[in-house]
Amino acid sequence: MMEQRAYDLFMQNLVKGTSHLALGQEAVAAGFGEAMRSDDYTFCTYRGHNHTLVRGASMTGILGELMGRECGLLNGKGGSMHLMSVEHGAMGSYAIIGAHMPIAAGAAWSAQYRESGQVAVCFFGDGTTNIGAFHESLNFAAVWSLPVVYVCENNLYMEYTPIGDVTAVKNPGADRASAYGLEPILIDGNDVDLVYATAQAAIAKARDGGGPSLLEVQTYRHGGHSRADPGKYRPDEEVKAWLARDPIPAYRKQLLAAGVSDSTLDTIDQEVSDRVDAAEATARSSSPPPLDIADTDLWADGTSTWRT
């Protein structure tokens, strides 16, 4: 709902620049968010609005950041592709493919060294599996037995190209696992209960000293790669089939079947909608950040100039 609103704000030209929505992929972030401990680390990509939100970062902060307002998580210095909320363990969304994967390994190493029991969960796309950092990270994680869970969200396209056209194996994540002595794990990423159970198991294993996991979760982005992309390179039947598997209505059906009442679900929907409205209103009324913050926080003394 928040991402749909982000899209609407784009259309009103209130969000400048690009943005990468994960409409259709919500079950992945939701399942993991529920399975994580509050002090665990999340590292995600530029398609990371949901991953940041599920850790508890404020919706106002997220929408405000997209809109370049003072109330944004990073006072507008980051933008859509760089959401971060350190206090919530959301250690950043990274816009350079694969860059965050070895950083997550380092964060996991830090947790291991400090014996803090924290686990790092690192999300990335199918396209990332072809860059060197992916392989370096998995090797690090395996060699040092790090408490890290690598989650490949395979949405079938690396930007605009079908992943199968540019990848030597069928399953870009799972088929690489054995190269690092890891179990191949491939699941339906639109089944939120399955994601949750798989996340719980992998996180528990990491926390108990059992080392890293590499999970491939299959999902689909309903829109194009970014704001500028209508996604027309995808076959209509494929899009139609995946829209029919939209995880949000699917889960509603599942909950109804399990005996949750329509009115309970409607109330939840209404509450979320109200929260999005409130977040949007606050973000809209927030001022643009003052220009003088552009000169701050480059160096440790808080300035952008030399210190002596």
Binding site: H82, M84, M101, G106, Y113, F140, D297, A300
Partner: protein, 338 residues
């Protein structure tokens, strides 16, 4: 005081800081069991354990990134990149992540990583074991870039670097690891025991980042340099008989502008010398800075003596290297200009 070469001094800096702060960890290729190809981390793994001195796989991007991640929560990682020539796979991590984490997050998030790496030529290393890429790093806002020229500074600056909350890229001119080198490869090697800066306290001390050192005061000309060429420039100045003020920049970024500017405004003449390629090299920034601050005191155009604008050619190492003759010729040119 102890006699140390630069390798001893760098090892000692690690040792002192690791003993003081359990959050300091070391990682890199061959740094643990083997002790580093230049021996700069020798003995640290035996003393502090495999969990604090890690042998990393050959993956420079991964090493720097892992260090960034380690630094997210209070650790102070020191990453060794075995040769500066190997640092390019990690450059993305330095430029896109390490340098800008603090800025991007309004100060919420930073990683106090120190990256140590041996640089420079004069050891017959050929094209990919001789480079001086410091100017590529000074071009990235948010990275402290350091290059010491002697054991005393190496230890004091490295301790400051590790303790700094800013990321530091620490270049070690490997030609002078074992002794000061005046640029004449035909002379027998001289050990650091012959040099006053080879005397180094065994205990904790710091040399502040961001402060240049006036190595030799003088009145006729200012030579601004760093690394190996600090020693070559002194020899070249002696060759010409010119009373040169020689400044060792030590911290390239952020730059100690006032020390440089005060000197050039006093002498009115300036020569800049570095081993790195001349075009778009750090010398260009130095020349622009001097010009901006000292234009009305300058009596001659600023001269730059640098490596050629080519890769380091193996067979012509000593022609590429800005030795005494080339620096002396530069000094004469600046002195003769009207």
């Amino acid at each position: 005081m102890a006699q140390m070469n630069m390798i001893d001094a760098i090892r000692s800096a690690h040792d002192v800081v690791m003993a003081k702060d359990p959050n300091v960890v070391v990682l890199g290729e061959d740094v643990g069991y083997f002790g580093g190809v230049f021996r700069c981390t020798d003995g640290l793994q035996r003393k502090y354990g495999e969990h604090r001195v890690l042998d990393a796989p050959i993956a420079e991007g991964g090493i720097i990134a892992a260090a960034i991640g380690m630094g997210v929560n209070g650790l102070r990682p020191v990453a060794e990149i075995q040769f500066a020539d190997y640092i390019y796979p990690g450059f993305d991590q330095v430029a896109s992540e390490l340098a800008r984490l603090r800025y991007r997050t309004c100060g919420d998030y930073f990683s106090p990583v120190t990256i140590r790496t041996p640089c420079g030529g004069g050891i017959r290393g050929g094209q990919t074991h001789s480079q001086s890429p410091e100017g590529i790093f000074t071009h990235v806002s948010g990275i402290t870039t350091v290059m010491p020229s002697n054991p005393y500074d190496a230890k004091g600056l490295l301790i400051s670097a590790i303790e700094s909350d800013d990321p530091v890229v620490f270049f070690e001119p490997k030609r002078i690891y074992n002794g000061p080198f005046d640029g004449d490869p035909n002379k027998p090697a001289v050990p650091w025991t012959t040099h006053p800066k080879g005397e180094v306290p065994e205990d904790y001390f710091t040399v502040p980042l961001g402060i240049a050192d006036i190595v030799k005061p003088g009145s006729e000309l200012t030579i601004i340099t760093y690394g190996t060429l600090v020693h070559v420039a002194q020899a070249a100045a002696r060759l010409t008989g010119v009373d040169a003020e020689i400044i060792d920049v030590r911290t390239l970024a952020p730059l100690d502008v006032s020390t440089l500017a005060d000197s050039v405004c006093k002498t009115g003449r300036c020569l800049i010398a570095h081993e790195a390629t001349r075009f778009s090299g750090f010398g260009a920034e130095l020349a622009a800075t001097v010009q901006e601050n000292c234009f009305y005191s300058l009596e001659a155009p600023i001269e730059r003596v640098a490596g050629w604008d080519t890769p380091y050619p193996h067979a012509f190492e000593w022609q590429y290297f800005p030795g005494q003759k080339r620096i002396a010729a530069g000094i004469r040119k600046v002195m003769e200009a009207q």
